[in-house]
């Protein structure tokens, strides 16, 4: 079955970890993830500027490794990301900001990507909350 997975939670919220474990189980179960879409505070879960204490879970890193290892299509809503200060190099330059905190494999794009993924998928599963 084809899944579209949308994350609405920052990495310090339990829902970010839950979404990642769910996504891993999806692939392990032989299913396909058509796209990961990060919206609202979910954009923080892709930030490369999060520094976790050494003995704590580093969720943005885990997300990055998971996405890279599986070659997943992974998109952040650009409007939600800009509003929350999650910028790739291109956007940092466009808005004359001093730092970028979003790298590959993540892409910035519009909400149309969420709709497209939902249309392609058999199931849309959203994660947020405590």
């Amino acid at each position: 079955m084809k899944f579209a997975i949308a994350l609405f939670a920052a990495p310090h919220q339990p829902a970010s970890r839950r979404a990642l474990r769910f996504a891993q189980a999806t692939l392990a179960g032989g299913h396909e993830i058509v796209r990961l879409f990060f919206y609202q505070d979910g954009v923080h879960s892709a930030s490369s500027n999060v520094v976790s204490p050494q003995d704590e879970l580093d969720l943005p890193r885990e997300w990055r490794e998971f996405v890279t290892a599986n070659g997943l299509d992974s998109v952040l809503c650009i409007a939600a990301a800009l509003r929350r200060g999650v910028l790739n190099a291109e956007e940092a330059q466009r808005y004359a900001r001093s730092a970028a905190n979003l790298e590959a494999p993540w892409e910035l794009s519009g909400l149309g990507q969420l709709h497209e993924a939902a249309q392609q998928a058999d199931r849309l599963v959203c994660f947020g909350g405590q």
Partner: protein
């Protein structure tokens, strides 16, 4: 055939970007000609109060954006009659033409859609 999507908006209008970002999903879907419905539930019905002055909070007028929904092809607009009544808006005029549904009608509404996002 495109899959239909119901967006259930539960956030009060000025508690953060939540209400606007729910609306943005609906507008984007409408712009792609997708069958989108929007239901205002719980504190989400406060978005529908008439006469709000978001300028006082230096916020953009969400109500004006809500009124753009039909222009984007999002014409299936609903509100929970219970949520409105509980919040003293049961008999109030609203800033958007919505169908008011009771609980059993909400259950039937949810059943009709292929997908749903509640935020």
């Amino acid at each position: 055939m495109s899959k239909s999507l119901l967006i259930i908006s539960r956030q009060a209008p000025w508690s953060g970007p939540g209400a606007r970002e729910a609306l943005d999903i609906a507008l984007a879907g409408g712009a792609f000609d997708l069958p989108i419905g929007m239901l205002f539930l719980d504190d989400g019905v406060f978005q529908l109060s008439a006469g709000q002055q978001p300028g006082q909070l230096q916020q953009k007028n969400l109500g004006a954006n809500l009124q753009a929904l039909p222009m984007f092809g999002v014409e299936e607009l609903y509100a929970s009659q219970r949520s409105l009544s509980e919040r003293g808006l049961g008999d109030s005029e609203l800033n958007l033409a919505v169908q008011r549904l009771d609980d059993s009608e909400l259950t039937a509404l949810l059943e009709r859609y292929d997908q749903v996002i509640t935020l």
